[in-house]
Subunit: 240 residues, 2 copies
């Protein structure tokens, strides 16, 4: 598979990776890839004041189904910064066509979110001596978030290798691995399906109802729906 | 003064800076410099499970005394990562001479701490449209922390400018400014004293007693004491 990485750890132990998991389609597929690459996966999710609290339950179910060694949910409160429809009291845009997305940064963008998430992952990686952090960032169909771009991921890796004890002592070279970076939603779904991912466990919707059913109309739902169509795979998502 | 920066904001408004403040000597001096440079200062401190809880009270007093526009204390729990004498149940080393420090990374190092702190500052900077983040990092007398080195600060700035909306749209170039990077403790004390800092409000000790008095024997106390001696300024620290 083209997304394969070779674990860098030379010891007899199974190498460890930190995997950021939201419970959505991309991060779930990323976890499946990390496991397939031979890593013991230490999975990290965040309760950050998101409207979509159901995604944390999805993350737990996904972590279990994909054999995570440990799943940690970190409590942080990004609502103090306001300014995003995903955390503040701003309406989630609906009914946009795929062609209308990506031009400018949407209101669902959460300031510095991936930077904060990766920083916690970096701390955990240092403590566990993990050599890789997996993140499901993606530039195709990415809704226009600045912290999903390849140049951002690469700059983060450079910084991370200067930030830590291992970096100073030259012990471990840390890789920030974003295996889905250049994949379309359809390709992601095909990769995950080949690895046995059960996408009915995942939730991508920015605004699900009380019963965790997807709205079918926000940017994330539109991209996900089209992904299953393009992949020619039947969509297991529960829509309201 | 050689530590002067020119605010980059071209609007009529007073430019804004985020200032990371622990309540210790270095970060307090950094706040005084930011104010002297003409910034409206938005001060950020962290309740991260540190043993030294008194430093947060010091941070509040310092922020008030140096005219901060706003002071936010963020609750995060770094104890989940264990592995540092500053947060876990490991004894703080005492009685080391200055010449014994700096060779290897000490047990008081908290994994990825500055990276996590800067990431929150980055989120706030983005929301406030602040163009500078001030951090009191220092390589001389720095106790050997990897995330206080100039190459780390520079790599963080590069990453930060790729991480945010402003970076994508080319609106604001963010600077991570560490004005004390190459200063000795004595120079820092001289700069702060010239700017009117009241160091009796600050606390540097890794292990103060219940009455917020410094131990006088941990690495941080040893460096601070010597700084006042070398600066020829009388030390207002309350020792137990």
């Amino acid at each position: 598979m083209s997304t394969k990485t070779t674990p860098l750890n030379n010891s007899q132990d199974t190498p460890k990776a930190i995997v950021l998991l939201s419970g959505g389609l991309d991060s779930t597929t990323t976890l499946a890839i990390a496991r397939d690459d031979g890593y013991d996966c230490y999975v990290m999710s965040f309760r950050y004041g998101q409207r979509n609290k159901a995604e944390l339950q999805c993350a737990e179910n996904v972590a279990k189904s994909l054999g995570a060694k440990q799943h940690t949910i970190i409590d942080i409160d990004l609502r103090i910064f306001g300014a995003s429809a995903l955390t503040a009291d701003i309406e989630v845009p609906k009914g946009r066509l795929e062609t209308e997305m990506g031009g400018s940064i949407p209101i669902t963008y959460v300031p510095a979110r991936n930077t904060i998430f990766l920083s916690y992952a970096l701390a955990w990686a240092e403590v566990l001596a993990a050599d890789t952090i997996f993140i499901g960032a993606n530039v195709i169909d990415y809704s226009g978030y600045p912290d999903c771009r390849p140049e951002y991921i690469s700059a983060y890796q450079t910084m991370a290798n200067l930030a830590t004890q291992a970096g100073v002592e030259g012990k471990t070279k840390l890789t920030i691995h974003a295996p889905l970076l250049d994949k379309t939603k359809a390709e992601i779904i095909q990769i995950g399906t080949a690895l046995g991912v059960d996408y009915s466990l995942t939730l991508s919707c920015y605004d699900p109802d009380m019963d965790s059913r997807a709205c079918g109309e926000c940017d994330s739902c539109v991209l996900r729906k089209k992904g299953f169509e393009d992949a020619g795979i039947s969509d297991p998502t529960r829509y309201r």
